[in-house]
């Protein structure tokens, strides 16, 4: 096993498999799913190997084709990248296993194509976090975006229209990112992130660099779903197929947040992002508005997936608030929230998919007595919902704890108040669903007709149930391990310069 080539294997193996799958799947359809699982498992093992190496020996540099930077493309995996790579692989493997039963019901006959595009989306996400070259991020960003558009369009009646809206808005975001890269290239002549971080400090007074920073902020903000640029998010998350929502919701916005950290704190120094332009101050206020806005609109939704989508907008606000707060505790809170939110939202959307699979309804009003029909699913939902609200010892409490500590340390009492109020608002809409699941009487058609029929416990299929329960257990587990995660893993991932 050649350990030196691991950084490129995490990207190349899924890419090659995604070319093999349509060919082999055309010959024999049942081969598609095992190949996807094998590809993601190989990437998962490689990512664990990378993470061990990075945490023992420091960042890995891998030069593609042997060309030294800045002439060649360099992959640079430091602690933040290793953390994201492991996170993406774990969630991908779980959702891939989850998707088998769900896609067979929602898109029959198209499973081979679904798995091919799914694997390409995985490639795009992995490539974005391991690369150290600005234009390479754009390439992988577009790979992941195009495949996400295609996957969302498979969804229910409104899927194609939501996907078209996402195409138009998402392309604008990627083009703004490309413009930012172009402006930096004009001024410095380099595309390598480390090279740029050395050349740029002398150029901070140049207007080109300032405009490039603003282009980056708007472009990555569109991809992240930050407050005014979020309009594609509810439609795309709600009308996608269940497995696709469960895959895109935990990951795509978080990789967007990773891109934001890379651009604002690795390429541009923290001194630029905090002092030269008051970008981080403005963004922290925008994030605060996003938190409150997402929570309030989520309360009024009666469609479960739309409610979770608006909740995602609010959670992206938490992450950006933590990142732009300006001290180490807040930043660690933001990074911890990336990890926790991926598990929580993955579990929630997986539960929504299981409920749709069995009950064929997404309306919260129809969830009566669900805890008798699908007890384990309801338990997973309850654990994830408690974590979103922020109740110890689940994981959500600890990320909000670190965010509040960071806000207290920087003496932003308004942010402390906003985080606490939003936890209360989260409680309102999550407890509404829990109440419907656990305490409301039966609302299915037979009960409405007045007949009394015995309740049949019909749990979700096992291939959907096991990943859901693993995600819910992960939420609890991550809560207990939060201190260890922050002290040993995340403390190295904070960019230097943030005190």
């Amino acid at each position: 096993m050649d350990f030196d080539q691991m950084p490129i294997l995490v990207v190349v193996v899924p890419l090659l498999f995604s070319f093999v799958i349509p060919v082999l799947g055309w010959w024999k359809k049942s081969l598609a799913f095992p190949l996807v699982v094998i590809a993601i498992a190989v990437s998962l093992l490689s990512s664990f190997q990378i993470a061990f190496t990075v945490f023992q020996h420091g960042p890995i540099d891998y030069y593609l084709g042997g060309w030294d930077p800045p002439w060649g493309i360099a992959y640079r995996i430091d602690h933040l990248s290793a953390f994201m790579v492991v996170l993406i692989s774990i969630i991908s493997l779980l959702i891939c296993v989850y998707s088998k039963a769900s896609i067979e019901k929602e898109a029959p006959g198209k499973e081979v194509h679904f798995y091919c595009i799914f694997l390409l989306l995985f490639t795009g996400l992995m490539g974005m976090v391991v690369t150290g070259d600005m234009f390479n991020i754009y390439v992988f960003l577009e790979i992941s975006s195009l495949t996400a558009y295609a996957l969302i369009a498979i969804g229910d009646e409104r899927g194609a229209f939501a996907a078209f809206k996402y195409v138009v808005i998402g392309t604008v975001g990627a083009c703004f990112y490309l413009l930012g890269v172009g402006y930096l290239y004009i001024v410095t002549g380099s595309l390598n992130m480390q090279d740029l971080s050395e050349i740029l400090p002398g150029l901070y007074q140049s207007k080109v660099v300032l405009v490039a920073a603003i282009f980056f902020t708007v472009g990555i903000g569109i991809k992240m779903g930050l407050f005014p640029l979020h309009t594609w998010l509810p439609g795309a998350y709600a009308h996608a197929p269940s497995a696709v929502s469960a895959y895109i919701a935990p990951l795509m916005t978080k990789v967007g947040a990773y891109m934001f950290i890379r651009v604002m704190f690795t390429v541009f120094n923290p001194s630029f992002s905090f002092e030269v332009l008051p970008l981080t101050e403005i963004l922290s206020w925008i994030a605060a508005v996003a938190i409150i806005y997402g929570s309030i609109i989520a309360i009024s939704q009666s469609d479960l997936k739309k409610m979770l989508a608006y909740s995602s907008i609010s959670q992206v606000g938490y992450i950006v608030l933590g990142i732009t707060m300006g001290n180490r505790l807040g930043f660690e809170g933001g990074l911890l929230h990336i990890l926790n939110h991926a598990f929580m939202k993955g579990c929630l959307f997986a539960v929504a998919g299981a409920i749709i699979y069995r009950q064929s309804t997404r309306n919260i009003e129809d969830f009566g007595y669900l805890h008798r029909k699908m007890p384990l699913t309801a338990l997973a939902f309850a654990i994830a919902a408690l974590s979103m609200v922020g109740i110890p010892p689940t994981a959500g409490f600890f990320s909000k704890w670190y965010l509040i500590l960071g806000a207290v340390e920087s003496q932003n009492w308004i942010f402390v108040g906003i985080i606490m109020i939003s936890s209360l608002l989260n409680a309102v809409y999550f407890f509404k669903v829990i109440e419907h699941i656990y305490w409301h009487p039966r609302t299915d058609a037979a009960a409405k007709a007045g007949q009394v029929t015995p309740i049949v416990m019909k749990e979700a299929p096992t291939s959907m149930l096991i990943p859901m329960l693993i995600l819910a257990a992960g939420v609890l587990f991550l809560g207990f391990l939060s201190h260890w995660i922050v002290e040993t893993l995340l403390v190295h991932a904070v960019p230097s310069g943030i005190l």
């Binding site: 234009f135 754009y138 390439v139 577009e142 195009l146 558009y149 295609a150 369009a153 009646e157 409104r158 194609a160 229209f161 996907a163 078209f164 195409v167 138009v168 392309t171 604008v172 990627a174 083009c175 490309l178 413009l179 172009g182 290239y185 004009i186």
Partner: protein, 125 residues
């Protein structure tokens, strides 16, 4: 006037980009929105290619040294910068992929709703 003439590629790309942006926002037909998105993307590609151009520059191929492993000293100012062209090849492919995907989406939408006007689709949703 001097600024306009010396940086005319910037002004052209900005005007094209705003035309595309207006089409994306202001037009109601989905195909027109798609064309606006295309104009938006291609204006950026034009801009990138234009920044590589140099006055009196020639094609960036050094003659007679291919495959010999010999190092030759060249004056970079005489050759047009090839890197933006290479980057934009990737961006062109991305644009083509996005256009193809969007046209497939529009086909699906037309089959389902029998119209491609945004307001009529929103009413039928």
């Amino acid at each position: 006037m001097d600024l306009l003439l010396s940086h005319f590629n910037y002004f052209i790309y900005i005007i094209l980009m705003m035309v595309g942006f207006y089409a994306m926002m202001g037009k109601r037909n989905l195909v027109k929105k798609l064309v606006g998105m295309n104009i938006f993307q291609w204006s950026i590609i034009l801009f990138f290619v234009s920044i590589g151009a140099k006055k009196g520059g020639t094609i960036p191929i050094v003659e007679g040294v291919h495959g010999h492993g010999v190092d030759v000293v060249v004056q970079a100012g005489q050759y047009v910068n090839p890197l933006p062209h290479v980057l934009m090849l990737t961006a062109i492919v991305v644009g083509v992929g996005t256009t193809g995907l969007s046209l497939a989406l529009l086909l699906t939408l037309y089959k389902k709703y029998k119209t491609l006007e945004e307001d009529e689709i929103m009413r039928k949703l």
